[in-house]
Point group: C5
Chain length 88, copies 5
């Protein structure tokens, strides 16, 4: 899993019924201290994450489908948590 920050939301025509009513977020990947790495990924939201929030992202299809109780959703990445703090 990785850490990131919500920087946008995708609007478009994604026909698969899995995506009806789901938000697709643009997630900027960050270091553990919150510095942007320059990379990003697109993840479905499962926790109501909003702009600029730091999030935990699961980037693995079988687990992502389980979060949505879906056997056949075409999804690979999902926001599974909102980060409050990282204790070092």
């Amino acid at each position: 899993m990785i850490l990131g920050r919500v920087i946008g939301e995708i609007h478009g025509s994604i026909k698969h019924p899995f995506y009806e009513g789901k938000k697709l977020l643009v997630i900027e990947k960050t270091s553990p201290t919150g510095v942007a790495t320059g990379d990003y990924l697109i993840a479905a939201d499962s926790v109501g994450a909003g702009a600029d929030e730091r999030v935990l992202v699961l980037d693995e299809g079988n687990g992502a489908r389980q979060v949505f109780d879906s056997k056949d959703g075409p999804v690979r990445a999902v926001v599974v948590g909102i980060i409050d703090d990282i204790v070092t």
Copy 2:
């Protein structure tokens, strides 16, 4: 999932019956703002994406097979949507 742009289509002898009638697109990976990253991948089309369109690509085999209702298709990446806008 990642964002990209359609830059070509593959012609060749791909014998597996899964690929009969399917388009294999060359997708240039892009940043969220649409800048090419220099990397690419090959993805099967599921939405009728055309040249230069910005697309959402799922790069995960089990989900990609589900998009085509296939249990055994040798496919890993599929174009699942066309991007209209990214709201930041």
Copy 3:
């Protein structure tokens, strides 16, 4: 699998019941000789790994779920061992 070092623990609101009572560790990836590579990942703990310990991390969803006897846990990476020594 990869080698890493525990450098932190995540606190946040991760709603999925899979994560109740589980520690989510920040793992700095290292070379075989223990030098940080500059990359990291987030992994669930299965062995009681503590700060600064060198660990073996499995970064694969299906195997990670098995470690926790879970069919549907949204997890991809898990700390599976503590490293004592690497014999070369």
Copy 4:
């Protein structure tokens, strides 16, 4: 999926019965225009690809096993097609 070029074949003792009678090819990864990227992978052949041919490679285990009608083959990458042309 990715594009590559056949640059060699592996000879060695690979004991698993899945590999009996199969060719293991060294595939140089290329850009869509055929320029070597400097990276490579090892893939099982399913189409009779020969030296220097441009090929389409599926790098995903479950799909790769299906190409060989194998439930348990220890394989991740397979050459699934020979490229004639890329229309841009």
Copy 5:
């Protein structure tokens, strides 16, 4: 799959019963001509590979588990062969 060279063996407390009696090898990734790339991975041994031997590594969990006849082993990478020669 990738090519590598055995450069070490891990000693540590890995509690999962899957690892009882198995060797965990440190594999330096190499180019097809045997030059170290600077990266590595940890793989379970299935062929009796020894120090400095050039090996073929499968880095995919479901296939790796099959090599060990395990449904639930927490393993992602396995040494599946010893390389004698690469014919180019």
